[in-house]
């Protein structure tokens, strides 16, 4: 068969398959592009369906700015604690014998329904729960743990740890171990080897881990409601509140627009240069 004929056949295949790809492009139009457009559109309407910029003006009042800052602060703390717990874990995991099995076991809890894990902490952190029993035993006495910032941070970190471990583990796996050996041979201390060789070479994994934690942490609303009572208000809680409780879709959409903008900025900050080159 000549090349031209073969080329024609492949081209024909492309055309035939095109019919089957219609649902995919319909999906992009209806469920990717349309929703974003709708969110932006709705952000210009107030609760009485009047076209207005008032939602945006409202967003820049101290109430909403403070909420946004708070949400950032919590998301930052959650990401930070997840990272300092996850990095050593990932590092030790790569040194174990059956590392894939151990990794699977670390990731397994993340398959378990999120709600159930949050619910477990209602029991553990409750007035008579295990945590308070330990505190009692230590002589500290019972504390109010549930519905505090601490419980919110703890449960969030608990839930996000596997998502931080995974990319860091993959980055560490790709690390060429002879570089570490070389650093040690040249007399670098363990800390220098870590800070000058290992960490910089796995920074991409750290970045994608932070991205996988920070963005969802900004938009948590289920954990805040269950574990933090209504003490902690994140951007996610605010959106849920406006859409489902006060029915002020315009303001909810405005907060969503800012969340999308923040998301894009974070992705640009954490997106690695190498990846961008390949794409």
């Amino acid at each position: 068969m000549t090349d031209a004929l073969r080329h024609m056949k492949v081209h024909m295949m492309k055309n035939k398959v095109n019919w089957y790809t219609i649902p995919y492009y319909l999906w992009i139009a209806l469920f990717v592009i349309a929703p974003v457009v709708l969110i932006v559109y709705y952000s210009f309407f107030d609760i009485e369906d009047q076209l207005t910029f008032s939602n945006y003006e409202k967003f820049f009042t101290p109430v909403y700015l403070k909420m946004t800052l708070n949400s950032f602060w919590y998301a930052f703390l959650i990401t930070f604690f997840s990272l300092i717990i996850a990095y050593p874990t990932a590092y030790i995991l790569t040194k174990t014998k059956h590392k894939q099995l151990w990794l699977l076991l670390i990731v397994l809890p993340s398959w378990i329904n999120l709600l159930l894990k949050a619910y477990a902490f209602l029991g553990i952190f409750g007035t008579y729960g295990a945590a308070n029993e330990v505190l009692d035993f230590l002589g500290i006495g019972k504390q109010q743990i549930l519905f505090t910032d601490f419980s919110f941070l703890f449960v969030s970190v608990y839930i996000f740890i596997p998502f931080m471990i995974l990319p860091i583990f993959n980055a560490l796996e790709k690390l060429n171990s002879s570089l570490v050996d070389a650093s040690k041979d040249l007399g670098a201390s363990s800390w220098t080897t870590f800070s000058k060789v290992i960490f910089p070479l796995t920074i991409d994994g750290v970045k994608s881990g932070c991205q996988a934690v920070f963005i969802p942490a900004l938009s948590l609303f289920m954990i805040t409601r269950l574990i933090a009572g209504n003490r902690v208000i994140t951007l996610g809680t605010a959106i849920e509140q406006h859409f489902l409780i006060t029915q002020d879709w315009g303001m909810g959409s405005t907060i969503a627009v800012f969340l999308i903008i923040i998301m894009i900025v974070i992705m640009m900050l954490t997106g690695s240069k190498k990846e961008r080159g390949i794409r």
């Binding site: 929703p35 874990t89 409750g126 938009s219 859409f243 998301m263």
Partner: protein, 267 residues
């Protein structure tokens, strides 16, 4: 291989305890006749029996499974053709644009997906309930299927297709006898991921579900907001073992397909 230091082993053990303790805590108290998540009194199957007599909850479990299976299947079909279409694109810019659009729903926070879909369904006049939940689950599962299938398509040598054409195969045969078998590990992985996405989803469903229809996650949320009931504990024990079975099953299926394809793939 260096031996792990004692401190490292201890650290790892601590992390494992931290990750698993809450789950086992839940399961442990599902056998408590006392009815609370503290002060274990005596062993009982009571909460499990109650669970199986609760027809409302059983209907919800059934709903959840039906939505998961249907949405994962449909998303897999749409996603596979999407991935094939992407892999055939020659123009790099176009391909990158489509790929970026594909990934939007993967990186978007659940609240935004839920809120925007709620607006979308309301505008179209689609009644909130089974249909809106199913459509949403299909929608957020498609991109993950594409992401799982695309690498397989890209590693497939184009000469494989040329050879099939040379030997006189039609495009349907090339698709069903060459392309689909080759990318099947990716398809399984995509389907499995879609299944777990659907089973796990709370936030999106919470936004687009009406009064009459509920999935397990949404139901657990409303139960948990009312306080502790050991029925949820019993339910979570069952779900834990189901998840375990799913993951182990998937582990073996993926191992088997890897072995089967090894002679051809040889990575």
């Amino acid at each position: 291989m260096n031996k792990l230091s004692k401190a490292s082993v201890l650290y790892l053990i601590l992390i494992f305890i931290l990750l698993y303790a809450p789950i086992f805590y839940l399961i442990f108290y599902s056998f408590n006749s006392g009815g609370t998540m503290h002060d274990f009194q005596s062993f009982t199957w009571k909460w499990y029996k109650e669970l199986f007599q609760d027809t409302r909850l059983l209907v919800i479990v059934l709903n959840t499974i039906i939505v998961a299976l249907l949405s994962a299947s449909i998303a897999t079909i749409i996603g596979v053709f999407g991935a094939i279409s992407l892999s055939m694109m020659r123009r790099k810019r176009l391909r990158n644009t489509v790929l970026s659009l594909n990934n939007v729903l993967i990186v978007s926070p659940d609240v935004i997906i839920g809120a925007s879909f709620l607006i979308f369904f309301t505008i179209l006049g689609i009644k909130l309930g089974f249909v809106s939940v199913l459509l949403s689950h299909i929608a957020f599962s498609i991109p993950i299927v594409v992401i799982m299938v695309l690498p397989k398509l890209q590693e497939m040598s184009p000469t494989l297709m040329d050879a099939a054409f040379d030997l006189g195969a039609g495009w349907k045969e090339v698709l069903s006898k060459v392309i689909l078998p080759y990318i099947s590990p990716g398809i399984y992985a995509g389907f499995f991921m879609a299944l777990t996405y659907s089973l796990d989803d709370f936030a999106v469903t919470f936004f687009v579900t009406g009064n009459g229809f509920s999935t397990l996650s949404v139901e657990i949320y409303s139960l948990a907001r009312r306080g502790i009931s050991l029925n949820i504990n019993a339910l979570s024990a069952l779900l834990f073992f189901l998840t375990l079975l799913l993951v182990i099953g998937y582990y073996f299926v993926s191992k088997r397909t890897v072995r089967r394809h090894k002679p051809g793939v040889n990575k």
